[in-house]
């Protein structure tokens, strides 16, 4: 089957090149049939990418070791689920997944924009097709997943750290986020090329950015949970360059989703918004480059390969093209209105944007500095967690506070009297929370105490916002309080979905602060029968056991756990020795307390043949609140994404041409 896969990719490349050329000519010369033909080529490219993907998937499932990719990333003993996840477990397969998602999103965007933005679409198709051209070229000429060989008796297997159920969802979710940022970029560039001064591109890009941002955010949380349960060091985010690579475009997209509201409501920040869309897309490409070039060493990155220079070249072209385009269209992008007051809703959005972008650039510098230093001086330099944690506190705490301040301030300008009235309750809740926590001993970590006080302030302002809004709707005639609440959200899904996302960020902050500022770590050498105590847990090492798993030999230490004399159960931290891969992995054991969100996390650092256990114990308060935050985030994002018929009707009237406008 590899010939079919190769042929499908070549056809995909041909279609993409055709769509670039035909699409550009059609847009320039206003040839409608040619434009539709180019659009069809983009849609057809998805079909060809799908065929290529199916060929690889069949090869994986059938253990076709004649395919180099299959032999390098699977083995006969690998369970089926992980065999499927090997599709994106290697360089070439993950590039193919990129292409599949890219063509799929592009096809959907083209089909939707034929109705919602037909005048903008012809200018955006060549941009979409240009990106498809790059990825299909990489798969055809540089990094093909369809290389063949004389089939060996068995494959090399899959990296043990990738043999985790989260690997089935985390990488595709991140790719959906990375790739999704292509669509806003294409429509923003299309609008600039077409010299469109209206805001149709904002309408199209806002929803796609929200989709990509949701996938990227949820994908990162899935990745954090994977790191937590699989990597076995007790943490969930290590400021690894590849983790940062996913965080940076998410921060840029977050800034855009806020600043775009200022453009919609006040007609300001047009240049800034275009720059954020370009930045988010370029950072997504940069993240892909970091993961694939072999330029950095990371648990998440692929091995060194020849694709790095190609990616670097493509990023350079994208940046040069888009910056030149923005500069040439500056007169179109100048705002006519100005900020009326530094104390207004739009001003808080502006401060939020500055902090988000500053944080994003700080992370970018932390990623680039070691690479540049090594390239220029030949000395390896590491930028570690202390650097990032400092800026997380410096930018993160004010951002958290702004999330609470923003909803309380009116648009345009607010008076001190008005502010005093709206701030009194959230401020009182925050101060009371801080005082109670101080009395309970939370003062052992000042950033932790400040973080929780800010969290209380934000949560109180969100609750107040829902309460005041519901009361206002009830006063307008809603029959019941439930009806008023539902109508409040239904009539402004973006705003109230956004508040729910803010609540999820508060939950995330509560979990991160609790599990990092107030955690306990202990290490001890134990012989069978010996005990140790950590916080209020008592642990007794019973013995160790060796057994055969599906594709690995499992060595486990049996540890009895009790608290206050009550036996809570047995945990089995240990190690797996994988047969095909000839690698050993750490297997942590975790006991989660559903009542207080705390985890007891055990790592068997070493188990000697004589039975001696080197046990690492972590008690992580509130860590489970982080994972709950992920679902709240998803819920809020879905509410914000849910189509609003009234808004769609209004936009159809606005952009539907003279006839529709005449009817208005």
């Amino acid at each position: 089957m590899p010939e079919l896969g190769r042929a499908a990719l070549i056809v995909c490349l041909g279609l993409a090149v055709y769509a670039v050329v035909a699409g550009a000519i059609a847009a320039r010369e206003r040839r409608q049939r040619l434009a539709e033909s180019a659009q069809n080529a983009v849609v057809a490219s998805f079909a060809t990418a799908l065929v290529a993907s199916l060929v690889l998937l069949v090869g994986l499932v059938q253990n076709d070791f004649g395919l180099v990719y299959v032999a390098d990333h699977t083995s006969r003993e690998l369970p089926l689920g992980y065999t499927i996840s090997a599709f994106w477990g290697g360089q070439e397969g993950s590039l193919l997944l990129w292409l599949l998602i890219l063509t799929g999103f592009s096809a959907v965007a083209v089909l939707l924009a034929r109705r919602s933005a037909p005048t903008l679409l012809p200018w955006s198709v060549p941009i979409l097709a240009g990106v498809i051209t790059f990825f299909s070229f990489m798969l055809v000429a540089v990094s093909s997943p369809f290389g063949t060989q004389a089939a060996p008796p068995d494959g090399a297997g899959l990296n043990p750290s990738l043999q985790n159920p989260y690997m089935l969802a985390h990488p595709p979710m991140l790719y959906l986020g990375f790739v999704g940022l292509t669509i806003p970029f294409a429509f923003a560039m299309g609008a600039l090329i077409a010299r469109r001064s209206d805001e149709l591109w904002i309408v199209v890009t806002r929803r796609w950015t929200l989709i990509a941002w949701t996938f990227l955010g949820f994908g990162q949380l899935l990745g954090a949970h994977w790191a937590y349960v699989e990597v076995g060091w007790g943490g969930y985010f290590a400021w690894d360059p590849v983790e940062n690579a996913a965080l940076m475009p998410w921060l840029a997209a977050t800034a855009f989703l806020h600043s775009v509201m200022i453009q919609e409501k006040r007609g300001m920040l047009k240049i800034w918004n275009v720059v954020l869309v370009i930045g988010a897309f370029a950072l997504a490409l940069f993240g892909t480059f970091l993961t694939r070039s072999g330029i950095i060493s990371s648990i998440h990155s692929f091995t060194e390969s020849s694709i790095g220079p190609w990616f670097l070249g493509f990023i350079g072209i994208v940046l040069a093209f888009s910056i030149a385009l923005v500069v040439s269209r500056l007169p179109l992008l100048r705002s006519k209105t100005r900020l009326e007051s530094p104390i207004s809703r739009e001003a808080t959005f502006l401060y939020n944007n500055l902090l988000l972008v500053a944080f994003c650039l700080t992370i970018l510098w932390g990623v680039l500095y070691p690479i540049l230093t090594e390239a220029l001086r030949g000395e390896p330099v590491t930028v570690g967690p202390p650097y990032y944690n400092f800026f997380l506190k410096a930018f993160g705490l004010p951002l958290l506070l702004l999330m609470g301040i923003g909803p309380l301030i009116a648009w345009r300008r607010a008076s001190l009297r008005g502010l005093g009235r709206t701030f009194v309750w959230p401020a009182a809740v925050a101060l009371a929370t801080g005082a109670i926590l101080l009395a309970l001993g939370a003062g052992s970590s000042i950033p932790g105490l400040v973080g929780y006080t800010f969290c209380a302030f934000v949560m109180a302002s969100i609750v107040l916002e829902f309460a005041r809004g519901t009361r206002a709707r009830h006063a307008l005639g809603s029959s019941s309080w439930a009806g008023a609440f539902s109508s409040l959200i239904g009539r402004n899904r973006r705003r109230y979905g956004g508040y729910i996302v803010h609540a999820s960020i508060v939950l995330l902050a509560i979990g991160v602060v609790g599990s990092s500022a107030y955690d306990t770590v202990a290490e001890r050498e134990l012989r069978p029968g010996q005990t140790m105590s950590v916080r209020n847990y008592d642990l007794r090492y019973v013995d160790n056991v060796t057994r055969r798993g599906a594709n690995a030999q499992e060595l486990r230490a049996i540890v009895e756990v009790s608290r206050g004399g009550e036996r809570l159960g047995t945990l089995e931290p240990g190690k797996n020795r994988y047969f095909a891969e000839q690698q050993v992995s750490n297997e942590a054991a975790i006991r989660s307390d559903r009542l207080n969100g705390e985890d007891l996390f055990l790592v068997a650092d070493q188990i000697d043949p004589d039975g001696t256990l080197f046990l690492k114990v972590l008690v992580k308060p509130l860590v489970n609140v982080i994972w709950i935050a992920g679902f709240v985030f998803l819920g809020g994002a879905l509410i914000a994404l849910w189509p609003d018929a009234r808004e769609q009707r209004r936009l159809a009237v606005r952009y539907g041409g003279r006839e529709a406008l005449a009817r208005a």
């Binding site: 079919l4 042929a7 539709e36 057809a44 805001e199 008076s415 009235r421």
Partner: protein, 110 residues
Amino acid sequence: MSPELVLGAVLAAAAVVFVAVPFLRASEPPEPETPPDATLAAAEERDRLLAELKELEFDHRTGKITDEDYRSQVYPLRRRAADLLPREAAEDPSEQQFSPPTVPSSRPDR
């Protein structure tokens, strides 16, 4: 020729046909209509003003701005929207729920 190559050729042929479909039509379809920039700008400005008036009203109802601030902001906005507001409101009656009241608010400051 292997069956896989034949399948590849079929895929390529199907793609070509799909891409050529628009040319099989007898005549060039009309180009989608783009409203003039000035018209679009006016429509966007009208929507923006309506949204601002709704926000202002909502902020007032939820106690974010005082009566005094409300009055100082609502009149200039209403003046700017004066010739545009009725058309939009007539288009969608539900828009009127948060549209400015016809008399200045008598809601007392708390």
